[in-house]
């Protein structure tokens, strides 16, 4: 197999950073042989989650890692911010719930687009880790 790509970290601070991060996620998934539908799902999930960072915390980061091995192609993306945190996480994971006047599709929508989805949040640190996988 090809050597895994080195991890890439992107600062998220304005709306063009959202575009940069989602394009990088798409480029890596294309490189690893994920199909168009997977590429689009991943890029869209990254777009939703990095926008949350800007909207709720102002700034943060997006780390894109290639964790592929001989058996599996895996992309893990960790999106972090040091904002106020998500006050009611179960509520925020419900469809249609939004504190910002959005469509409320961000978190629950992103969860449905990826294979792994983990979110932890407290004041000062919110981290969402997502991954997509396919057999090598």
């Amino acid at each position: 197999m090809t050597e895994p790509r080195p991890p890439a970290r992107f600062a998220i601070g304005n709306s063009s950073d959202i575009v940069t991060a989602r394009q990088a996620a798409r480029a890596l998934s294309a490189h690893l042989g994920f199909g168009k539908a997977h590429q689009t799902r991943l890029a869209t999930a990254v777009s939703e989650l990095t926008r949350n960072v800007i909207q709720y915390a102002g700034e943060g980061s997006c780390l894109i890692e290639d964790l592929s091995d001989d058996q599996e192609r895996v992309i893990r993306i960790s999106i972090e911010d040091h904002g106020p945190g998500i006050p009611n996480l179960p509520l925020a994971m419900e469809d249609g719930f939004s504190t910002s006047g959005g469509l409320g599709a961000g978190l629950p929508g992103a969860r449905r687009l990826v294979d792994d989805f983990h979110v932890s949040s407290a004041p000062g640190l919110t981290r969402v880790v997502i991954a997509i996988r396919k057999p090598a």
Binding site: S16, V19, A37, T44, G109
Partner: protein, 130 residues
């Protein structure tokens, strides 16, 4: 980057060719709504064939823009949503795109023409002399 808005008689054509930032999407919305009012357009076709990501924000901008344009008095059709974009939008949540859609620009224009004729507006169809 400004998205060019082409005018074909009383129809406006917009083709979004690049991945837009949120700010560019808002700029597009206000440019298009203003242009519709300025030329009193009867119909607008927005081609998004080239967009490979339509997230909930972009979906909302598209929906809002379509509603604004309809409020002014024009018909709107969104053309060329990619199959994988459609799949992703539906997986994320229903009703992210509420506007009328067509496979491509050509069908979108036919649809606009039919709508405009249906509402009895002869300015576009050129039947004034009847």
């Amino acid at each position: 980057m400004r998205i060019p808005i082409l005018r074909l008689d009383r129809i406006l054509l917009v083709s979004i060719q690049e991945d837009l930032t949120d700010d560019e999407a808002m700029q597009f919305q206000s440019d298009l709504v203003n242009r519709v009012a300025e030329v009193e357009a009867l119909g607008v076709a927005v081609d998004i064939t080239a967009l490979d990501v339509v997230d909930s924000y972009m979906a909302r901008v598209i929906n809002d823009t379509a509603s604004m344009v309809r409020l002014l008095g024009a018909e709107v059709v969104i053309c060329g949503i990619q199959p994988f974009v459609a799949m992703t939008l539906i997986e994320m949540g229903r009703d992210l795109i509420g506007a009328d859609c067509a496979f491509n620009l050509e069908q979108g224009l036919e649809m606009l023409r039919a709508r405009i004729v249906h509402r009895g507006d002869t300015r576009f169809t050129g039947d004034e002399d009847d």
